[in-house]
Amino acid sequence: MTLLELEDVTAFYGPVQVLEGVSLSVPENGAVGILGANGAGKTTTLRAISATVRAGGRIVFDGKDIRGTRPDRVAALGIAHVPEGRGTFGDLSVRENLRVGAYLRKDRKGIASDIDYCLDLFPNLQDRITSNASALSGGEQQMLAVARAIMSKPRLLLLDEASLGLAPSTAKAVYDAIRRLRVESGIAMVVVEQNANLAFTLVDSATVLETGRNVLTGTSAELRGMDEIRRAYLGG
């Protein structure tokens, strides 16, 4: 059962065409990576899904074309976007950040238990629960960003460069937690990542973008084996 289907998606920034036709298919409970060099259109693909850029083509989520809706509506459908640069609320405490994440929910008990779950998933946040997000370290902010996203109980998580600017050990810790989340919750994921090796620890399959187009799609196992592809696109 396919949860999200992108067909020939195009997007422009002003007059510049950034996406020239990207396709992507994410099964229910699946995790798909988007790989590629800088400027290949990875982030824009995520932004097209979350309706922060206007896109052409077809973006079907759960059987409905969601193109042209507003970002908050997309979120309400069950798509949570963890943007590049984290996008936490700096002047709000960690707990408040998590509560904002749960804005669309009404079940107080469920929210409380999900906050506990987030703190269990990211124990670093436990001690910082009353600190302002702006006072957190980069790794903690990334954890908070993911935690905030899952507070909305999404069916699909869009993860943009979660390892960016983090020390390798921190990046690994973040990905370990996300993998655990995936196993325990079954949330489907679209994962944009520069660091291909890190991405392959999380995703089942991946597509490689070059100048706004898919150039290669395959399972993690297939792609991982392709040395020249890795050198060319993934900087590995």
Binding site: Y13, G14, R47, T52, V53, R54, P71, G85, G87, F89, G90, D91, S134
Partner: protein
């Protein structure tokens, strides 16, 4: 643009326009009736005032709600000097320097605050200025105000007073415009534009935004003082009402409607300031404020570059033919770009501290 004119032709073209303008301006006062000359003189007065505001706001991006105060101050200094029979040159110099010094002092404090705070502090100038003028009645004549007549046509010129005064306004105002034009098209203008665009960028290339904001504000105050001198020359009467909050807002509206960051816009702004209230008064005096507010909003919506932007395609074509590196292309207020979707500006984060 089919044929490129030779350098000689170009310099001829370059001088012909201004020369023609000077000739026209020299002849017109002789043929116009007194009432028209007076209106043109008033437009000149407020064009200079708007120009001062444009320097600090249009070119340097610091919203000032206090420009009218410097006009009032210059007018009072002039009125006081003239009624005490001081030499008119001394009066003129004082009418320039006293507002400039006051402006410098205000700017030294206000420019320490970032961005909008300058608007928030300068709004105090007219608000405090009016009661202050009433209080200092020994110098200002209190609520009654001061009258002073000067600038009558000298014997032997054969000119009427209104013609002579208009010539004075055109000469002094023209000089101020010329100097300001050279300033904003030169090195300082480029720096002002950088400060306007992004103070952080300015700092990163070694420009002190503080210093240039103070400079722009001080020069604007000086130009305000000149406009005050001209105000007394033409209107011959000033009172605390001259620098009221309402007038301050009207001046700002005139600048925006004329065209922010534009020399031509300053002249159009002066004309707007003088002519439009007369027109709206004709319609219905109680509608004046309403119409002015509505006009300002409409202009901001549909013509963010002001009236001057209508004339721009023509002006730019001509200028680029002989002055390619003419530095700051008139900066259209970023309202047009600002309405872009969130997509075009991904970094919309407004966190105080990273």
């Amino acid at each position: 643009m089919a044929s490129v004119p030779s350098p000689r032709q170009r310099s001829w073209v370059r001088w012909a326009g201004p020369l023609l303008l000077v000739v026209v301006l020299a002849v017109l006062p002789l043929v116009f009736p007194e009432s028209v000359n007076e209106i043109i003189a008033r437009i000149g007065v407020f064009a200079v005032a708007v120009l001062g505001l444009n320097l600090v706001m249009g070119y340097t991006g610091q919203v000032s709600l206090g420009q009218i105060f410097f006009l009032g101050l210059g007018a009072y200094v002039t009125a006081y000097g003239v009624s005490n029979d001081w030499n008119i040159v001394v009066v003129f110099v004082l009418a320039c320097t006293i507002p400039a010094v006051v402006g410098l002092l205000v700017a030294l404090a206000a420019a320490r605050l970032g961005g909008l705070a300058i608007a928030m502090v300068t709004v105090a100038l007219p608000i405090v200025g009016v009661p202050l003028a009433k209080r200092l009645s020994d110098y200002t004549g209190g609520s009654q105000g001061l009258s002073a007549r000067f600038g009558d046509a000298p014997e032997g010129t054969g000119l009427y007073d209104d013609q002579w005064r208009l010539y004075l306004v055109l000469a002094i105002g023209g000089a101020v415009f010329l100097l300001t034009r050279n300033l904003v098209r030169g090195k300082y203008g480029r720096v002002f534009a950088i400060v306007k665009k992004n103070e952080n960028v300015a700092s990163s290339v070694g420009i002190s935004p503080y210093r240039y904001k103070v400079l722009a504000f001080t020069l604007a105050s000086l130009i305000g003082g000149v406009s005050g001198f001209l105000y007394m020359l033409v209107i011959q009467y000033t009172s605390p009402e001259t620098m009221s909050f309402g007038h301050s807002i009207q001046l700002l509206a005139a600048m925006v409607i004329g065209g922010a960051g534009s020399i031509l816009g300053s002249i159009l702004g002066g004309a707007y300031y003088v002519l439009v209230p007369q027109l709206t008064n004709l319609v219905d005096p109680s509608l004046t404020a309403l119409l002015q507010g509505a006009t300002l909003l409409v202009v901001l919506f549909v013509l963010p570059g002001g009236l001057a932007s209508l004339a721009r395609p023509l002006g730019r074509g001509r200028r680029s033919s002989h002055d390619r590196r003419g530095p700051t292309p008139p900066i259209t207020p970023s309202a047009t770009t600002g309405s872009g979707t969130a997509a075009e500006t991904p970094e919309t984060e407004r966190q105080g501290h990273p």
